[in-house]
């Protein structure tokens, strides 16, 4: 229902502690935007500035067309789900969900209608009279969602809402959240440190590191065209292989192999990046083949990962599960040069 814009936003605690540096993001209306990054990267601070829980040192945050820098949290028409859920322990589930509506002095029947509606969506009907302590973790999480839903806010803020759930429940809730996003047709801004959540849920992902926005894009974009070494390494499991290389024209020479580059680059030092799935047991057409001394073999059923040495570099490969290989073997592998990346050694920015 509203776009959100971060416009040169800076958050500084003291002169030398800056946690968010010049953040520029446009979040479109009804978009599911995920802010992802390692802990301490400033993503939560960015969200809390939007929520109005932290002051903005420099720049502007806009919800729709309205600059909200000096608008009180309650007047920003947002709802937030906390990592800890922040349920009021002394209030029943119903009262927890009705609380924000009471704050708006809503008519009792309208309030009732909304709470009932939300509780139906979330399957909380049987628990309305209970106190939070009598609920399971998943139920509490849904109450926290319900409290956000009832307000029909312009923007939904979610601060690592799944991190207190177990793995199975987390998977389910991920799907429920996406459904909810579709049903509510509202802007969602979701903060997480888990790139899987980011990849699976986000319409777009904004990756942050050390207070600096690294890249914004769809999950596919970010995966296939990481803007820099950090993004490349952060997104995807197992992580991308990074091999130091010396480039000249359109070849890159590593310690154990040579790879043909799709584009010619200036001669010099760089880091070659390729995902495990780019290194397979199929021989490469352009001759970028290499030999790996296998240390560990991981069979996952659908896939088989090989961890080993290529030259003096540690590398991971994803091969056909039927390939027969044992630790200590030397495997013949081919590199798919169409999906390799090269990063500048100094700036770590991607050439391609």
């Amino acid at each position: 229902m509203a776009a959100v814009t971060y416009d040169h936003v800076v958050k500084r605690y003291t002169a030398d502690v800056t946690v968010v540096k010049d953040l520029n993001v446009d979040i479109k209306d009804k978009e599911f935007m995920v802010l992802v990054g390692p802990s301490g990267c400033g993503k939560s601070t960015a969200l809390r500035m939007l929520a109005g829980l932290e002051s903005i040192t420099e720049g502007q945050i806009r919800i729709g067309d309205r600059v909200v820098n000096n608008v009180a949290a309650k007047d920003r028409d947002i709802a937030m789900v906390f990592q800890s859920y922040a349920l009021y322990p002394h209030m029943s589930v119903y009262d927890n969900m009705a609380f924000p509506l009471q704050m708006q002095h809503m008519k009792k029947d309208e309030m009732d209608r909304r709470v009932k509606n939300a509780s139906k969506i979330l399957g909380l009907d049987p628990f309305l009279k209970r106190k939070p302590r009598a609920l399971s973790g998943g139920q509490r999480q849904r109450v926290a969602l319900g409290r956000a839903i009832v307000r029909s806010p312009k923007v939904f803020l979610l601060d690592e809402p799944l991190s207190n759930l177990d793995a199975k429940l987390r998977g389910q809730t991920r799907i429920e959240l996406q459904k909810l996003h579709r049903e509510l047709e509202t802007t969602f801004i979701y903060v997480t440190h888990d790139q899987v959540e980011a990849m699976t849920m986000g319409d777009r992902i904004a990756i942050m590191n050390a207070g600096i926005l690294q890249q914004v894009g769809t999950p596919g974009d970010v995966y296939d065209h990481p803007a820099n070494l950090f993004v490349a390494g952060f997104i995807g499991t197992p992580t991308m292989n990074f091999v130091p290389v010396t480039t000249s024209d359109s070849t890159a020479k590593a310690s154990g192999f040579e790879a043909k580059l799709p584009k010619s680059v200036p001669a010099g030092k760089g880091t070659l990046g390729f995902r495990p799935e780019a290194l397979t047991d199929r021989q490469s057409a352009d001759g970028s083949n290499l030999q790996m001394k296998v240390d560990v073999v991981e069979r996952l059923g659908s896939d088989q990962y090989l961890y080993g040495q290529v030259g003096s570099d540690q590398v991971t490969a994803r091969v056909d599960p039927r390939m027969k290989v044992a630790p200590g073997d030397t495997a013949q592998l081919g590199l798919d040069t169409r999906s390799i990346h090269l990063f500048d050694a100094e700036s770590e920015v991607a050439f391609f």
């Binding site: 829980l53 949290a73 309650k74 937030m80 349920l87 322990p89 939070p132 609920l135 409290r147 759930l165």
Partner: protein, 310 residues
Amino acid sequence: MTVAAAAQPTTVAARFSPGWITQLLQRYMLHVVVIGLTVAWMLPTIGLLVSSFRPFALTKTSGWWTALSPLEFTLQNYTDVLDQSNLGQAFFNSFMVSVPATVIPVTIGAFAAYAFAWMKFPARNWIFLALVGLLAVPLQLTFVPVLSFYVNTLHWTTSNLENIGIPGLPWVPLWLAHAGYGLPFSIYLLANFFRALPSDLFESAEIDGAGTLTVFFRIILPLSVPALASLVIFQFLWVWNDLLVALIYVGGAPEVAPLTVNLADLTTSLGQGSNLLTSAAFFSMVVPLIVFLSLQRYFVRGILAGSVKG
């Protein structure tokens, strides 16, 4: 638990130890320890209670535990207190003193503790420290300056306040005095408690549209019931049992003097009538105990459980 664990030396098991004895010991050890400690703790009070029912002459020559043989009990000490003191008026006065002198510092203290715990303002920590430091000021030193402020600046004395005729007015200086003396402790205790509340709750409420007042009245206060209950009890006890501050600020006139003053007057300046103090002590304990017992249920387990933990 610790005691139960320690009370089972392993060396005994090697010699003679049918399993059920050890188990029995283990099972009842806790109760034996708990009840034993409680009884030991009550011994002085029991002694006083028994003595209060014994004829005065006997308490001088034999211990209270001999009271059963020969069985010699009397209600004399209690009836004497009822006859000699003006208990009705004194109880009333004590309530008139204690209730506001508890409510004022706890409420004002809660306001301030909220600010100290959750608002930012200059010199916050230093002011807070100064408050804790002021806990150590001996009250006796403050009497003259404070009282002369009342008398010389405000021209307030108990009797002219009484003459205005507004109910409770003669006690106002005493209320404020108890508030002033009780506030550092109130603020210290409550601020530490408030500070320990999870910040997510307030932030969530803030986003939900709750103002400062709503957060205070609808979230902080309900969540702080155990701390508030303890504080109410302590402040009430302190005021109820106070003698010196009452004597300084309202004096010993029977129309205004609280129970403590009244009961202290049972003995003469030379100490005659000290037998009455045993029974008087029980009269003065009744109300504090009722207050404690009625607030006891608020010390419940885990009021924060389920709020922010996964």
